[in-house]
């Protein structure tokens, strides 16, 4: 008997080392639905607490991919006898404690050879990342208020991350994080304000996400990480923003602000743009006056204020020119002229204006002026096209007037002729 047990242990170890498939009664081949005696019995139970998990399995990605209830909870799903099926001797674990869940999920999700069954490039570092996260670290210290896998993904009825109904889908993840991070009382225990979600919802990022349905717009996890969620440190803020705003970051690195901010231990982007409530920047922010951004460090007369004044003047001139030309081109278009070429020039001007705004990050007025000159060159070309179209409109209207006079004369002549004939 002892020899048999030893042999079984050796075989089990060998199977594990070789990455062999788990027992088919626990995890069936991918794509096979995992209905069994567990779901059949639980579905028929009166106690909603026990019935609900079974009902949720219909949409659950694990069940759809052949992972049975016993795949996580253990036990013997081949037996219809509850005493056998849910016998601890058969490995039945029942309900997991809060602290046990990450390890339990990780037992499959961290196993690269096992996860390969489902997709060739599925990540398997979630548990490792989680352990480094604020959540994971607090859990390790015994804090059971922190988020675990099921807090965000759900326990039963887990949906694929790219399923629009999933709680971690880009458009829904903000509210998922907000379930805890929007609770100021709970967050108070961790020294977090709890208004971050509300602030984020005022941001340009959130607007892009929900109004333009831009799924690439940053959400909580884009900056903080998903499984390894942690607040970015001062030095890493520009790295994070720079992953999307590459050009702005490059220009910032060229500026004297880079070293100055580092010396003051100030976060780079956040100092001017804030963090969660990032709105579309306005040119009017540039300056040292009241409510102007540069004024938080610079004051009138210093080199920063002089540069800000020059940058603002260049941008205002370009913006005014762009607005005026756009109005003129629109007016000509309303009069029925095709202004496609002028629209192309205006588009060039818009692009150059955006580049001028990006150059602000160098805080070098001559670099900004170089771009605003390109704006004015394009608006100038559009103005010339609009002027030529206006001349054409005048020519057409004069031609129309002359034609109408000729037609009217012909009509009057005919009418007189008819009267003369019929008199």
């Amino acid at each position: 008997m002892r020899n048999h047990s030893f042999l079984a242990l050796v075989l089990a170890l060998a199977a594990t080392v070789a990455g062999a498939a788990p027992p088919p009664n626990l995890v069936r081949p991918p794509g096979t639905h995992a209905e069994d005696t567990c779901t059949a019995c639980h579905m028929a139970l009166d106690d909603a607490r026990l019935r609900t998990p079974a009902k949720l399995t219909d949409n659950d990605i694990h069940h759809a991919q052949g992972v049975t209830c016993a795949g996580c909870h253990g036990g013997d799903p081949t037996s219809e006898d509850a005493a056998v099926a849910m016998n601890t001797a058969k490995g039945f674990k029942g309900k997991f404690s809060h602290q046990a869940i990450p390890e339990m999920c990780g037992s499959c999700h961290s196993d690269a050879s096992f996860m390969l069954r489902y997709a060739p490039n599925v990540p398997t570092d979630q548990l490792a990342q989680y352990r480094t996260s604020k959540h994971g670290q607090a859990l390790a210290k015994g804090d059971t208020n922190v988020a675990i896998c099921s807090s965000c993904h759900g326990a039963h009825g887990v949906l694929a991350v790219n399923d629009a109904r999933s709680t971690v889908y880009p458009t829904r993840i903000v509210d998922t994080c907000g379930r805890c991070h929007g609770d100021a009382v709970l967050m108070g225990h961790y020294g977090i304000k709890g208004n971050e979600i509300a602030e984020y919802k005022q941001s340009a990022h959130y607007a892009a996400l929900v109004t333009k349905n831009d799924l690439s717009a940053p959400t909580c996890k884009s900056c903080h990480g998903a499984h390894g969620a942690t607040p970015p440190g001062v030095s890493s803020v520009s790295n994070i923003c720079g992953t999307c705003h590459v050009t702005q970051r490059e220009r910032f690195d060229l500026s004297p602000h880079k070293d100055a901010f580092a010396a003051l231990s100030q976060p780079a982007c956040e100092s001017c743009h804030s963090n969660h409530a990032i709105v579309h920047p306005q040119d009017s922010w540039i300056g040292v006056g009241k409510d102007q951004t540069c004024g938080s460090c610079h004051s009138a007369g210093d080199s920063g204020a002089t540069a800000a004044t020059a940058i603002l003047a260049a941008l205002s001139g370009a913006s005014k020119g762009l607005g005026g030309t756009q109005q003129r081109v629109d007016r000509v278009q309303l009069a029925g002229m095709l202004m496609d070429e002028a629209e192309v020039k205006l588009e060039d001007a818009h692009q150059a204006f955006i580049m001028a705004q990006v150059e602000i990050h160098t805080v070098n007025p001559s670099r900004v002026e170089e771009k605003t000159k390109a704006v004015l060159a394009s608006t100038g070309a559009a103005e010339r096209l609009a002027a030529s179209a206006e001349t054409e409109i005048r020519y057409r209207r004069t031609g129309l007037f002359v034609s109408l006079v000729v037609i009217a004369l012909a009509m009057v002549t005919l009418i007189f002729k008819i009267r003369g004939m019929e008199r």
Binding site: G336, L338, R396, R397, S403, L404, I407, M411, L414, I415
Partner: protein
Amino acid sequence: MRIFDRLWQALDGRLELAPLVDFATHKVVPQHRHSWAYYFGGLTLFFFIVQVATGILLLLYYRPTSEAAFESVQFIVTRVPFGWLIRSVHSWSANLMVLAAFAHMFSVYLLGSYAKPRELTWWSGFALLVLAMGFGFSGYLLPWNELAFFATRVGTDMVSKVPLIGGWLLKFLRGGEEVTGATLTRFFGFHVAVLPMITTTLLATHLAFIQRQGMHVPEGLEEEAATRRPLRFAPNFMMREGVVWLAGLAALAALAAFFPWELGSKADPFASAPAGIKPEWYFLFMFEALKLLPAHVLGIEGELVGLGAFSLAGLVWFLVPVLDRGSRIGHRSRAFLALGWLALAYIVVFTLASMAGAFK
């Protein structure tokens, strides 16, 4: 003048034209309080002539492929000298032609001019109106812009509802399952070859009938027409018609110069349909009515019921010279007169309401 006299003698000697001139100079047009109605047919003819002339000019530059159609129209209106005017006049004249044709048809109907012996004139006129609408529908797609593309998709889709042959008709019109470059080429063919050929033949027949039978004097106005001196067709009526044509020309010039026809943006078959797709205004009364119908009427698809009803109404309208039996002996039915006013009111109200956005 001697040259003209000699030319005339040479032609008359060979073709015996004198009886024709004699016919024209002796032909008269009766005068009564509704003789204004006689000018609408001529006005429709004027716009048709403008369409032929401007259409030929557009053909010089237009390219009927999905890759080049939009760009070629853009080239016409931006680069070709007076191309903007020709394109704008063509589009406006098309609409004014349909409007004049509707006015002509309703005046003929309401004055009872369809009655025996003018049934053939009525039927050829009805066919000409259908052809004009066919011109409008096929021409609408040719600039290959976004609105026209989607409107054509909706319009041709309706054809698929026709029982039994719907699927075949759809493929015939589209040149496949979807509106593509094949549809454009085919519509171009209809627009510049098939429809003009049939229309010209039918128009010549329609005009020949009118010349042969003379103008109809509406019921109840015979006495007035008898007491008033009739107009000689040539040159008096023709000169009056000339004044109307000049007024039409002035309207065309003003509309083309002040409201140049829009080109819109190029059709993108992969883009989602833009909001507010509408067909040309003369299809609006049918389009809006079909939209108002519920999805199912007595278990039959609503759109199919609507199309069936319009087909039936069209058939009644077509057969009115036969159905209105009294009209044959000069006593037209009051019910058919009421039907005419009802149809006119329905078309006017639905078209204007749709243009005003009442059905949004």
